[in-house]
Symmetry: C3
Subunit: 408 residues, 3 copies
């Protein structure tokens, strides 16, 4: 941990050891803000989703006052898991075992016959910190880092115009990858592998992606011109819609490392589809054009996200074991959009379904490789600078956790 070589991938135990994994759950996933879904997944009071992180299980539920609350999914009687579905809707939260009953706010309101002196107020559900940013739901299982307010101020203007509260879930897919969560994040943080590895995704990437302006080869000059035109059009559309597009990158040196930008798409330029045209006929929020490129957000440790004019796609990952990670992908469209009329599910989901499967293969081969005693850390390429930042941030978080533990 103290001997990490900057610019190089991590030593094997960080990816393979169950002990290191248990530390990751505590030092990273229980100590930073993690993304768990959007308000579009719990539109009405009583609607809930559950999320498991390591052996934690958390209920995220919309309360009767429309606020979103989070509780540990553990009955205060004998510890039974309360809600056993990934999502649903309830009046109160009732334990199936002995019918202990909690309000959506977590208050115990019924517990059968108890001994004299039993005080229900001592047995509320244990709360989990929750924070909504422009419709994105974050929780923190431990003491919450306070830099989230600052991050919220920066990113909300990019996302708010896409009006997540006015959207609905069109599709949600869980994929389990036999890989450490950090390999999954590293995979997402570079596009060095995209050209050969992601034929569908790169349909809407400009061929000059990754080149510096003064390095564009002659054969790509026409494509570069197309890119410059698209960027100009994008900026005009953004300015008219009051949507920011500047890159803000702050990946290390803080608990809530993040990066956001808005970039033009190639082809029709509207959406992450095979030809770049919008997948849903209904514009999100009050946007006046589909040609808004992609607002791409990445927050460490577990999310990435793209918002287009017609739809949003969110990604969250959950560590299951040193060599297993859940990747949840959710597609949102305008709440008024009708499947089969305004959007076709396969068209909407193809690019990221394929891309996720391709990435799963890369990550699984990565896990197998770093598990060999012959693995040695290797150098990150210049296009992999975000990985180095990610590793820096990761070691910072482990160090901060160790200091908290020592200070106890």
């Amino acid at each position: 941990m103290d001997e990490r070589r900057p610019g190089w991938s991590l030593e094997a135990p960080f990816y393979t050891s169950p002990e290191f994994f248990a530390r990751d759950v505590e030092a990273i996933f229980a100590s930073t803000w993690i993304f768990v879904g959007t308000v579009a997944e719990v539109p009405e009071p009583g609607d809930y989703v559950t999320i498991d992180v390591g052996t934690y299980s958390v209920i995220i539920i919309r309360d009767d006052d429309d606020a979103i609350r989070a509780h540990h999914n553990v009955c205060r009687h004998r510890g039974t898991r309360l809600l056993n579905d990934l999502s649903g809707s309830v009046g109160n939260i009732v334990c199936s075992y002995h019918q202990w009953t909690y309000t959506p706010g977590g208050e115990l309101i019924s517990a059968g016959v108890q001994a004299p002196g039993f005080d229900p107020a001592c047995f509320s559900l244990r709360p989990v910190n929750v924070r909504i940013i422009a419709g994105l739901i974050f929780i923190c299982l431990g003491p919450p880092p306070d830099d989230i307010a600052e991050v919220a101020d920066v990113i909300a203007p990019y996302i708010a115009p896409h009006d997540i509260a006015g959207a609905k879930v069109a599709a949600q897919v869980d994929l389990i990858e036999d890989s450490n969560w950090k390999l999954v994040m590293e995979n997402n943080r570079e596009c060095y592998h995209c050209e050969a590895g992601h034929p569908e995704l790169t349909c809407t990437f400009f061929p000059t992606y990754g080149y510096a302006a003064d390095e564009i080869p002659a054969r790509l000059q026409p494509a570069y011109q197309r890119f410059l035109d698209a960027e100009r059009r994008l900026h005009d559309n953004c300015d008219r819609n009051g949507v920011p597009y500047a890159l803000v990158e702050d990946l290390s040196g803080r608990p809530t490392g993040f990066r956001i930008e808005r970039a033009a798409l190639d082809g029709k330029g509207e959406s992450y589809t095979m030809d770049g045209s919008a997948a849903s006929a209904k514009l999100l929020g009050d946007l006046d054009t589909f040609t808004l490129g992609r607002a791409s957000l990445h927050i460490q440790p577990n999310m990435w996200f793209h918002a287009m004019g017609d739809h949003i796609v969110t990604f969250s990952l959950v560590p299951l074991a040193a060599d297993r990670t859940l990747v949840r992908t959710t597609w949102l469209v305008d709440a008024e959009a009708v499947e089969g009329v305004d959007y076709d599910l396969e068209n909407l989901t193809t690019v990221w379904m394929k891309t996720n499967e391709q990435d799963a293969t890369f990550c699984e081969r990565g896990q197998l490789g770093v598990s060999s005693p012959a693995y040695l850390p290797g150098p990150y390429a210049p296009t992999e600078a975000h990985l180095d930042e990610f590793c820096t941030w990761y070691i910072e978080r482990l160090t901060a956790h160790r200091e908290r533990m020592d200070g106890r």
Copy 2:
């Protein structure tokens, strides 16, 4: 272990830690008498059953002199498992690998060509303590607690009239629950969850079950009168048949914690069926009436049992891992009863098949819940007093085991 809070559920590691589980196997399952089946399962000489406890495997076999013996299921040559089926019948016990041959009594009688000086008498099967109580078979893998004799004296009169030796196995079902064995036992030790959780089981429970006599609400007075009538009838029938019915409860403070009683059933009052009528047309033993309620026996750590006039149902559990437990349920009817004529299998087994499945779900949700780092021990309700006794007994056994180890 030394800091257990009486009246509250155990701390999480007792339910989740593999190290604690390994200790449970040694301190509880290899150090107390455990229930493994009935003599009805091995009616003839050479009949055997095998039972696996942790990584132990034990053969229980009826010897040629009709005595029942138990041996470790391990060849003394190179350690091969000898009998590989759950039950069967053999002349001698022959290892499939090199044909080392043992009598049902465990003596090595053939071992191929051996070096001079090889003494077969040194290679008998390693014996396991065995004890029969009114047809119930108990084994002890370690030094056997001697209070079993006292327990036998108390419980045998309740069970002997049901004549297990004159019964046969009508059905046997193994269910694997993803739960710690203690959650399975705790589940069985309270009926706080029965009303909402077990619609089939409670068909033959009086609605006043769990109420003190002076707490019966007015609306239940007719049911209470029905209960009092049924108890009076039960006691008459018991007295006439020479069957005891008093409650004896001695769940902690001794190695072989147990509880026995006989109680009336509601409805037809004869058996654990949906309407309470007998499931088998043949009375057990020399009983003269079906209306004998249920003789209910519980012995720690791993059995519960109900004997009615027409049939018996036994339950044994075997710990497989910190979060996996086998529950074996066996239904016995009179040996002369004919399936399809005297009893219908589905009618005989429905109540407990359903009840077991419901309990498995509760136990599995319990295991998930206590695995969360957010779990805290909770208070047992007044109707859960047996759970507190069970936990007390459990901690006593762990303490006794630690003292034995320290004394080594």
Copy 3:
């Protein structure tokens, strides 16, 4: 380890403990020469096989100069596993992730855009020691024991006439046994279990197998006469073909413990088939007769092998976990032999397919048995002398490894 009782099977942890298993991988499988296949599996430049040993993965590839090379199957960039099939053919070795490209010799020849100062010469594939003996491929993951040269001198004359380079793979089957690798080796090192356990294999064994000459019972004298005749015929044929047949046994006291001999087969005397007649119509190499018995080779820790006049069958085992072992069986016939014309696959493979399945059952019962806390080491019979030698060798290797570690 220091308290092993000669002549008795090993203590349980050697067969069951994950920690002991990890030590076996390092002290045995990464420190001795292990058999991984034959040159017939990689006939052309670019042909490769991959082999996984514990968490190691190794590429064995024929280079453009026809030499066979071995590399760790780990990309030097970020550790991704390079080749993901069991076998195949490539021009260069290209990582699927970012297209880092290596020659069959392991040199990095392409790595995309890298930072200034990046030196490809520092990122060759990490090499693995490789040694070919008469077409058998051995690798050593650690510093290679040098007694392999001496072993090669002894065994090559027995095998070379069967011309593995002129053979082809007719069939290859992987079987995973739920057993420790040492139980699999021990099983192979004695035929005490063959008579009852392997009806197909023993079709071509003389009934006097295992008897000393002066112990043959009267009823077996005709069979003994048949055996003496067959041996005389075998020796004539060997002498004429320049093939040695003497037994050489050197199982312990050296890193590369081995045993080789040539013995006559019963029945038709030509091959390991149900009636002993040749399974392939084409003679291997320049041999002039099918009646050459079997040249049987055993090399510790992981191979056994039989070469007949018409075909060769090789066995390699790979430890997967304390209780899981892969056994790979490969049948080779002359490269010119045509399936369906010169040989029938089922006839060729039946004897060892059945024998392997029978042995898997024995080994799995052995693993279950030694996992019981009631298991005690037992005495090897006189016919199990090779097991004792194997255990002696094994403890020698562990001791040598400990000394190397201490010397570090």
